[in-house]
Symmetry: C2
DNA sequence: CTGAAAGCGCTAACAT
DNA sequence: ATGTTAGCGCTTTCAG
């Protein structure tokens, strides 16, 4: 392993230049020489160091990936999609997580630039107002956003507004009128805003007043009592909940069940993300499913195009979402039934 | 960003050596000079390229992580644990997945070595018989295994045999006698073998015959009919299932429910891994929980010790597991109850 | 077809 | 305190 091109050259009896050519342009070397050198390479188990190449200004074959967390399968799935294609293309992935923290986003991007990555695939909290992205636009490297909902920058996502709209329409179509939206603590994110817009629009079309969204820290082990109280107060009790992500939906459902409520009999629940595990729940979780792995794949493809020198498209690629029906959603209980319960 | 140490030197009016010192050993440079150089660095937005340093034989501050997949939260959690500490220590992580494929394991390790990673953290299918690990022992870089159950190599895991034993004892303590073990398609892995040993031992102590393990592809969308039939055949019907991982447990439970069986009334189910999502299920999944994030953290710490030149300990670090009781496990139905159902 | 040499960005002797 | 220089592993002119 610790053998260098010099060792090969010495063993084969040629100059390092010839060895280099034998590796990178075999046809420019005489067959006999090629043979000798290849033998030397094999016996020494020589593998050219990417560092030398990189330093020469060659491609590093390195791509940075920046996501908020891997605890959420949404991002693990995206990463999986990227990894499939990147590995096949001979690229290496450097991974950094941010925990939705701006300082860490900044640190990750800087670190990755130092490493001379050829491109960046990232999910940030708020794409439109992100100063570092402007810097990337100017100085490179190329980047593609995942899940960020913006028109101004290269990105791959779903139409969050529309997806939320379609999801909430499922609820209103079932007869729900009092629908509450629950958002994670990342309420500041661009996609959270879009989802809320879609939610509001759907309710509006049903002539229903939009209830104020409730913010929940879905990393907390338990659903806070205050939130639980809010969800179940008799006077204003919603008949359905629209959770801005599946993990949140699961935490909320558990909290409600512990408090003695039944889903969907007492309360319908709709998630967002469509993580695979949701389908394995009992009852299966209804959710607005985003094609996470495909988002990762497409992000990779767009990045490769950019790196390849294609005209840099500032446009966002919108992938289709699917409203996945599930047994956590049912028609609302009638007042009579409610009273009985 | 394309500015180099030369640019800084030129702008500041000093040699590149002085600039290098200003960065790496500020105290060896006069305050005035330092000031000038720092200003130049700021205006040029200069950040030293790790490539030059690396080539100089300096530390790359790169660590490779190799896991089978990120679709299984077990590994995503490990990675999360590693990432926390690695980022804090100023290291960068290069991630590669293998999908349990030997060829990909090989490719990943080679690629990472080429990148001159300072260390490797990995989960392989079978650690004891892995030839590449022998090579790493000889030529470096240092590595630490996660989850692999071996005495011969540096590793961090739980005692899989004991953990499975403790889990199955939970079942026998509840009165179960016919306990079937379900294993993923990775039945060849070292930990799968250990888990089966523990399972067998627990049953033996109850004086019960060990049933042959059933292999299930838990990546399949549906539980195959043949497997379902096996699990529910009246004659040999088990009263409890021990699944070698939680994802598998969830797939199996869904299949059983669709076939009209109730859990835990008709059949108890115990998982393995203790992924966080299991606790959110209804009913919460009983599982032998492994401290995945801690496994990642400890793996990191051991790796750092090795890199730091500590005596290379070939020993495995065993972390405690926890048998997490859950409502998917109940006493077996009596024959009477069964007949009723 | 092959070799000599320069240089990528940086650090570390060795000089001054 | 600062500058000069060699060289890390490699690719790539430019000459033979």
């Amino acid at each position: 392993m610790t053998s260098t091109i010099k060792d090969v050259a010495a063993l084969a009896g040629f100059s390092i230049a010839t060895v280099s050519r034998a590796i990178n342009a075999p046809h420019t070397v005489s067959p006999a020489t090629l043979q000798t050198i290849r033998t030397a390479i094999d016996t020494l188990q020589f593998r050219p160091s990417p560092l030398g190449r990189q330093l020469r200004g060659e491609r590093t074959r390195l791509v940075g990936v920046v996501v908020p967390t891997l605890s959420n399968p949404v991002f693990a799935d995206c990463l999986q999609g990227i990894d499939e294609l990147a590995t096949a293309a001979g690229f290496k992935l450097i991974l950094m997580t941010t925990e939705y923290d701006a300082a860490r986003e900044r640190h990750a991007i800087e670190t990755l630039r130092e490493q001379r990555v050829e491109g960046l695939i990232l999910t940030v909290a708020d794409a439109d107002t992100h100063p570092l992205l402007d810097m990337l636009d100017r100085d490179g490297p190329h980047y593609v956003l995942m899940h960020n909902d913006t028109q101004r920058r290269p990105s791959v996502s779903v139409d969050n507004r529309r997806a939320a709209y379609d999801g909430v329409r499922l609820l209103t179509a079932r007869g729900h009128r009092r629908v509450l939206m629950l958002a994670g603590s990342l309420a500041a994110s661009d996609r959270a805003r879009q989802r809320h817009l879609g939610y509001a629009q759907a309710l509006e079309e049903s002539g229903v007043a939009t209830l104020p969204p409730v913010e929940v820290d879905f990393n907390a082990p338990e659903l806070p009592d205050a939130v639980l109280a809010h969800l179940t107060a008799q006077a204003t009790r919603p008949t359905a909940l629209f959770c801005s992500n599946d993990l949140l939906a699961m935490v909320v459902m558990r909290g409600l069940r512990r408090a003695g409520f039944s889903i969907p009999d007492d309360l319908s629940v709709l998630g967002f993300d469509g993580i695979a595990i949701g389908e394995l729940l009992a009852p299966p979780l209804a959710s607005v499913a985003t094609p996470n792995r495909d988002i990762g794949r497409h992000a990779w493809q767009r990045l490769v195009e950019c790196i390849g020198g294609a005209t840099i498209e500032r446009t966002s690629l919108i992938l289709p979402h699917v409203v996945r029906d599930g047994a956590t959603v049912a028609p609302p209980a009638t007042d009579l039934q409610l009273r009985k319960a």
